[in-house]
């Protein structure tokens, strides 16, 4: 345990230093996270005002303007805390052979990457905090009164972070076979858009799309923690929500291990 703490501490220190070096560029990249949720909010609050002030989903969940504001703002923050972009990085490394020196290190490269990811979130979140606060002030979201179940969002976000991370990393490993992963990534982001609740609250998805979204791993990656914070999860469904998260996490780790074992044999950079 102490071994891993030391390793992560060292990686976090390096990662944070790098992120501070490029703080302006990093901040501008992080602002991309605003675009999607704010556009979603614009579309949905326009739709609800064209529909008499509120929208009711197939299961009876109702959203007003200010509910949409709350949903998309909370989603923006959760999404920032859980996002990962390693699929892009990893394909580059496989293509130009930069993966080789990393393989020589005595620990798996995923740990260094995860630490860099955490450092990015630490640095950017502190910079984004005032902007988030301003958005909450101006968009006037209707948030539920604080209560204890909202604290459950903390473990839910942590699981979502690792879950999203391991799934994206597994996806990135496809680069071992194809070297180019842009199209696959785009496909993943499309699924993520619909099924994690990025384009609309899952409770508003119609028919079969709503059913698929209920059981897909993407729900555990974003929507579930958001709903916990907004107090929209009925108390008898909280436990099953966590069980879903853990289930998909276990599956994700399994897939990752299989793909890594197979992929590393495929890797054929100079000197490998």
């Amino acid at each position: 345990m102490k071994y891993w703490i030391n390793i992560y501490r060292a990686h976090l220190k390096i990662g944070t230093a790098i992120m501070f070096q490029y703080r302006f560029a990093v901040l501008i990249w992080a602002v991309w996270g605003f675009v999607g949720p704010l556009l979603g909010l614009a579309v949905w609050s326009a739709a609800s005002s064209s529909h008499g002030g509120n929208i009711t989903g197939p299961q009876g969940a109702t959203f007003t303007d200010r509910d949409f504001a709350a949903y998309f703002l909370v989603f923006m923050i959760v999404s920032h805390l859980t996002m990962s972009w390693d699929a892009f990085e990893f394909a580059f490394r496989v293509r130009d052979g930069n993966l080789s020196p990393r393989l020589l290190k005595p620990i798996h490269p995923i740990h260094g990457d995860l630490a860099t990811n955490l450092a990015f979130k630490f640095v950017t979140s502190t910079m984004l905090l005032p902007i988030w606060a301003l958005l909450f002030y101006f968009l006037k979201p209707s948030l539920p009164p604080p209560n204890w179940t909202q604290l459950l969002a903390i473990p839910a976000i942590l699981i979502a972070l690792v879950l999203r991370y391991i799934w994206q990393y597994s996806l990135a490993l496809i680069a071992f076979w194809t070297t180019r992963v842009e199209a696959i990534n785009q496909f993943y982001f499309t699924l993520d858009g619909f099924l994690a609740g990025r384009i609309a609250p899952l409770a508003l998805l119609p028919g079969w799309l709503g059913v698929v979204a209920t059981y897909s791993p993407f729900r555990s990656m974003g929507y579930f923690p958001v709903e916990l914070i907004l107090g929209r999860v009925p108390s008898d469904q909280i436990l099953s929500g966590f069980l879903f998260q853990v289930f998909w996490l276990v599956v994700g780790v399994g897939v990752f291990r299989l793909m890594w074992a197979g992929g590393i044999k495929q890797y054929s950079a100079v000197g490998a």
Partner: protein
């Protein structure tokens, strides 16, 4: 005439280079179709609850989306690769090689290359435009078509000028590549009708970063919601922006300190 021949030569050579990476075309087509699918999907979910959003029907929004992708394709094919080159050249001092050529520097610098595979976006956009116009059963007559062509041209001119203006700023500030990200972030807002945004943002998207002018206006022209005379106003604005930005570029060039001077 000589400049047209030169332009032909420029484009021929850069297409030849791109031909080496033919698979990129399919990657681009897939990426652009999937991106489109996400936007259309999110809109159609919203439209299951209401038949119009701030006066826009689903099919009208589709036309708008087609113009958005068309503009995106035009920018990425013809404008962006050159402007990115200039920014890099100013930083590295290699703009000297452009300035030394016996042609107008602005011509050489801003029209030198095209990124041919980005044409994928243009093709996807044209397909979507055709489809949604037939769904609307609109009759696109000569006046709609010509006013669309004029406003689209004017929009492209405005984008070109806007970017040239930014690029010229690099003569003083050297590093501005992050600004490009900010512009693209604002450009994303053009996916949807400008009317859905709050009042202050509409103003910013019209006057500060003219996203409305380059996307909403041609879309309205195509669906016949724009007075024909307005297309001449647009054309005037396009010409004016080119003149102003070119003048600014020539002024900025005097401050360029190359590798050798």
């Amino acid at each position: 005439m000589r400049y047209l021949r030169l332009l032909g030569a420029f484009y021929r050579t850069s297409i030849q280079t791109d031909m080496e990476y033919r698979a990129d075309f399919f990657t681009r087509i897939i990426a652009s179709l999937l991106g489109l699918l996400t936007t259309i999907g999110s809109l159609s979910v919203a439209f299951t609850y209401t038949t119009n959003i701030k006066g826009w029907s689903f099919s009208h929004v589709m036309v708008l989306l087609a113009v958005y992708y068309l503009m995106d394709g035009l920018i990425e094919t013809f404008i962006a690769p050159n402007m990115r080159n200039i920014m890099a050249q100013v930083r590295e001092g290699t703009l000297d090689f452009v300035l030394l050529k016996p042609v107008v520097p602005q011509f050489m610098a801003t029209l030198r290359t095209i990124n041919i595979w980005r044409i994928a976006n243009i093709l996807v956009a044209l397909g979507l435009a055709g489809y949604s116009i037939s769904r609307l059963s609109l009759s696109v007559g000569l006046s709609e078509a010509s006013s669309f062509a004029i406003t689209l041209l004017a929009g492209t001119a405005v984008v070109y000028s806007f970017w040239l203006f930014l690029v010229t700023l690099t003569f003083w500030f050297v590093r501005l590549d992050n600004i490009e990200q900010v512009i693209w972030q604002a450009f994303e807002a053009g996916r949807y009708p400008i009317e859905i945004y709050p009042y202050w943002l509409r103003g910013a998207l019209t006057y500060v970063i003219p996203v409305a002018f380059i996307i909403t206006v041609p879309a309205k022209a195509l669906t016949g919601q724009l007075a024909f005379s307005y297309s001449f106003v647009a054309l005037g604005m396009g010409c004016l922006s080119i003149l102003l930005s070119s003048a600014f570029w020539r002024y900025g060039l005097r401050f360029y300190t190359g590798a050798s001077s």
